[in-house]
Structure formats: C-alpha cells, structure tokens
Amino acid sequence: MTSTTPSAGSSALAACREEGRAALIGYLPVGFPTLAGSLEAIAAIVEGGVDIVEVGVPYSDPLMDGPVIQRATETALAAGMTVDDVFTAVAASVAAGAPAYVMSYWNLILRRGVDRFAADLAAAGGSGVITPDLIPDEASEWLEAARRHDLDPVFLVAPSSTTERLSVATAACRGFVYAASTMGVTGTRASVGDAAADVVARTRAVTDLPVCVGLGVSNRAQAAEVARYADGVIVGSALVRALDEGGPSAVGRLAAELAAGVREGRG
C-alpha cells in the first residue's frame, strides 16, 4: 500500500493518545434545526471540547438510527437540507478547529457519484467518511476514491462480529475503527454494557488503528467509563437532544461535560 499523509482526524487521535486520554467525537446532523443552527451547534461543541466532529447527513431511511436522530433528520430534510450543505458543515467544523468526518448512508454518496463526493469532501477539508450501511465487501469503488482523495474510510464493527469479520473491516479502515457498543441503533442508554469493552479488546487483537466506541454514551460518567478502554468516545443522540431542548449553549455545555469525562477515564 502506498504511504499517505495522515488525515487531520488521524493526527487528532494521535495527539489524544499522546496526552494519555481518549478523544471525544461529537455527532450532529447537518441542517438540524436549520443549516445555520447546525453550524452554530458545531462551533459550540468544538468550543466545548470535542476533538473531532462527526457530521451526519440526514437520509430518508436511516435504518441505523433511533428515534432522536430520526426526528432530527426528518426535521432537517423537511427544512430543505441538501447534500451540498454537508460540505459547508465540514468546512465550518475545520474552521472552528476540529477535524471532521462525515457519517452518511451509502445511497447519498452513490447518487452524487462516489468520486465526486470524495473530491468535494476533500476540498472542504474533511478527514473521511463513516459508512454505517456499507461493508468493505461492497466498498471497492469507495476505497479507491478514498485513496485518491486522501480520505479515511471508517467501517463499523459490532459485538456480533466474528474474528474474520473484524479482520475484514479493520483491514479496510484508515484513521480509526468505529466499534458499535451494543447490538442496536443509535440512542442514549442507561448503561453502555460489557459488550463494548469486549468488542474493543477483540478489535485491538487484529489492528493497531485507534478504536472508537459509539452508540449509547450520553453523559460524563459513561464517557469516562468508555474512555478507560477506548481510543475515542463517540456521542450522538445525547448531543442532538441537548441541541433540540436547549439550543447551541446547551449542546456546548454537554460537550464540555463529556470532554471532562474522557479526561477522567484513565485518571
């Protein structure tokens, strides 16, 4: 494989590792509650201490998402969000000081044209794409485009993943590996559960890439707990709910809480 420059996201994860702590990755969907509102919210979570932003692209059929993100993406689509807005949000995140990954269902990328999507994302300063409904087996065109445009392809692993599937997924990832903490869809949960630590350990056995954990983390204590064993803690639904209920200042405050949490993990 040709050596490529590490993405900004990859460098941010390495910097966190240097500091001896997990990174905080915050998810927000572009266009919720409005385009301007989502840009303001992204700036607020970066200000609050998010290391990396995961920009969600609202999709009509988000089968990996629970009710909170479903409602937000429905609102964004009804308000006229377009895929073009994603690149605006990525650029805004980078300008605010945080590397950005896009989280997109595959059909939106396919429809724009895989290479064109990658080119537009690279031009906006994005670090890569998280693809919840694309497995490496179906991703040859995307992997080529990602290489061409120096983007990180980030695939998911799950508690159900066999060792063979962990190897397939991690071999195709760059930047980091997204480990789903539980079998299920996005949403806040009372506890993150033991399955997360197990899937992280099994993933580490097959890759040196950072392993970041998503699904179910909503507060400072949970962030601290996951930060003990993961390289990154991904928070989505809780931020979306905070934004919905309290606007940019509330989502910024929650980000600060979570940022404190990831610093307590290995304290």
Binding site: Y59, D61, G66, Q70, N107, D133, A180, M183
Partner: protein, 406 residues
C-alpha cells in the same frame, strides 16, 4: 445519471443485489445463507415443506382459464395461476413457511416481519402460530388504516402488530423499523423478509421459496394448451410473486416475461410506484437495485391504490432482468387496475387482490398487442377480500349509494 453500483461480490444479479447493511447483521446473514443452503438439499426439510404445501397451503394451486374475461383481452387465451386460493389468500405463504422452518432450524424463537397490504404479515402470523413462534409485525400507520381487516387477522392469530409512525408511514418505513428490531434482537430473532429484496441471501432465498409457482404453472399450461405461453404476466411491488412465476421460464426464450408496476395516478404525475420508468439505480434496504429517489439520493415516496405495490424500490433480480432485457416492465394506473378488478369480478366471479388486478390490466393490453392466438399466463397472486372496503369506496358502493358497479 448512471451510477456504478459497486463491485461484483456476494449475492449479485449482474450489478444488482449485494449486502448494504450494518456490519452487525453480517453474521446473521451468513448463518441464514449457510442454513438455507443445507436445508434446500436436506430431504427432511424439503419433505416437511412439501407436506405443508400439500396439507396446509393447498398446493398445487390450480390453473383457471377465464374466457369471459379474455373477451376483454382481444380474445387471447387467458390462464390464471390461482395463488389467491392458497391458505391465507396469497402467494406469500410459500415463502413464509420456508423461512419459518428455517427459523426453527436456527433455534430462533421469535420472528418479525414488515407488511404493506397485510398479506405477508398475515402469512407470517399464520406460520408463527403453526410452528409456535413469537411474532411481531411492523406496518406503516397509513397501511394499518387502509388494511384494518388484516390488522385484526394478525392479532387474532396471536401476532403483535406495531403501527410505524415515522417517515411516510408505509411499507418502506415498516422495513426500516423491522431492520432496527432485527439489529437489536438478532440473537433470538429471524426477520422473515416478505419479498425478493433486502440483503443477500434474501432475494435469492425468497425467490427459491416462490419458484414453485412457475414450476407448477409451466407444467399445467403445457398440459392444458400443449405449448408454452406467449407471455407470463405478474404484478411487481417488491416482486416476489413475479420472480416466483418467472423463474422457471427464464430459459424459455419464446416466453415474454412481463412485470406490471403500480402506475398510481400516472407515471407523468410523479405519484406512482413505477421504479423502472420513474426511478434509477440506487441502494435501498440492503440491495443495489432501482429506486425512486431525488437528485440527492433521498427516497421519494411511492403512491398506489394498492398497498402491496406501494414501495419505492424493487427486488434486485428484477433490476437485472430489466437491464438485460429478459423481462419487460410496464405499469398500470390505479384506474386501469380497478377496471380490471371490476371486469374479473363481473365476468368470472373472482375478486382479485388489487395488486393482482395490475397484472390483469397488463393482460388486457398484451391481449390487444398479441391478438387472439396468444396464450397469456397471469399470476393471480392474491384474493380481493382484504380490498373489499377500498374497492367499494372506489366504485361508490358504500352508504346510501344504491347503484351497483358502473
């Protein structure tokens, strides 16, 4: 825009198919593929399914020639494959019994399903009752209202019916919700997907369980007419009855395979479910196929008087047959389908499902094109009992209206 859909990989029909699902589901899909491959060559499984076909479903389903209806098809001979006479009232039971037996083999105690018109949900609830499995059926709220009778049927059979209130509240949203349930409960749950789409192996497996329709029909037509039909006609929502009846004829080059999609208010109005004239290449619900979508790739909601055809995507093997030209796809509008519904009821005493009435509308057009010497085999995929309310309203037969059908 013609998008390349990805690499030839597992479970492709040409460019179409594949497994566009969360990684979390891959082990379950691989287990399902392994178990169903073994089952299809296991005499015990094959024998049990055959026994259920004969003693429970009522197979083989008969072939009925309909000469009075054929007068409206320019005199062509019209033969109906009577899947409407199956237990539960449609072809759906063929697939469901197969998958429910597989669920038992995999040690799963719970099955879930999506349903549009309710036929697949009723069939799944039936199989679950028969085999002692827990059953949850997801159904768009709009569909629970227009198919209220089937909701009651499922509940009588012991299934839990969950009305899905997000998105367009129709079949596509029921599929989303079923997939979410499956990801969370995959350890003890099998998703009985109801049509020939979704991630591999579903499109191939569901087709194989329905293939019996075409196997029987081909022999029955040869027996009755002494030759193969000129055309085989079936309605296409997801496309399971069509794949079932088409598959045995794929190598019979002289036989035209005609799928009829729901034209809704007319393809030109944008309110339809005609994926092959109004859609384009895309990915939905785990499969690369044809999809109704906007310029950004957001799914466009479909429209049809028929809940069972009201779906913005179609099985990937149909997409392959479309692009290779082996099958042709047309559409019938709501009005054309309802006219065919009226005609079959009045001329033959058979109330077809509104879905199947689309195939009958297709036969009326093909008869005109092929003339009186043609033999047309039509898949009558379901019966119209569930549609009595919709049809009565369409024809103004409710309330104070004393008039009959026009």
């Amino acid at each position: 825009m013609t998008a390349a859909l990805g690499s030839p990989g597992i479970g492709r029909f040409g460019d179409f198919g594949g497994r566009y699902v969360p990684e979390a589901l891959i082990p379950a899909l691989e287990q399902l593929d392994e178990v169903r491959r073994k089952a299809l060559v296991d005499p015990e499984f094959v024998g049990e399914l055959d026994r259920l076909h004969r003693t429970y479903t009522g197979r083989p389903s008969i072939l009925t020639e309909v000469p009075r209806f054929a007068e409206h098809c320019a005199g062509a001979r019209v033969l109906l494959k009577r899947e409407d006479l199956n237990h539960t009232g449609s072809h759906k039971i063929n697939n469901v019994l197969g998958q429910a037996l597989l669920a038992k083999r995999m040690g799963k105690r719970r099955v879930i399903a999506e349903t549009g018109a309710g036929q697949h949900g009723v069939a799944t609830a039936t199989a679950a009752a028969l085999l002692g499995l827990d059953c949850v059926v997801y159904m768009g709220k709009v569909d629970t209202e227009r198919q209220a009778l089937n909701v009651a049927r499922m509940r009588l059979l012991g299934a839990e019916v969950i009305a899905v209130t997000n998105g367009s509240q129709t079949l596509k949203d029921a599929v989303n919700e079923a997939l979410r349930d499956w990801v969370a409960n995959v350890d003890d749950t099998h998703y009985v997907l109801g049509t020939v789409t979704g991630p591999y192996p579903f499109p191939e497996m569901v087709r194989d369980f329905h293939r019996i329709i075409g196997v029987e029909a081909r022999a029955q037509v040869l027996d009755l007419v002494g030759r193969l039909p000129d055309a085989v006609i079936a309605c296409v929502g997801g496309g399971s009855n069509a794949m079932g009846i088409f598959h045995r004829f794929l190598d019979d080059a002289s036989v035209r395979l005609v799928g009829v999609e729901a034209g809704g208010d007319g393809v030109e109005t944008g309110r339809h479910a005609a994926r092959f004239s109004g859609g384009s290449r895309g990915v939905l619900h785990g499969a690369a196929t044809y999809v109704l979508q906007d310029d950004d790739g957001q799914t466009i909601e479909s429209h049809s008087v028929s809940a069972g055809l009201d779906y913005p995507s179609v099985g990937p093997e149909h997409a392959h047959l479309f692009e290779t030209g082996r099958a042709e796809y047309r559409s019938a509008t709501d009005a054309e389908a309802m006219e065919a519904f009226r005609l079959l009821s009045r001329t033959e005493g058979i109330l077809p499902a509104i879905e199947s009435a689309h195939a009958l509308a297709g036969a009326m057009v093909l008869g005109q094109e092929l003339g009186p010497d043609a033999v047309l085999l039509v898949s009558l995929s379901g019966r119209g009992d569930k549609d009595v309310h919709t049809a009565a309203r369409w024809f103004g037969l409710l309330g104070d209206d004393e008039g009959g059908m026009p």
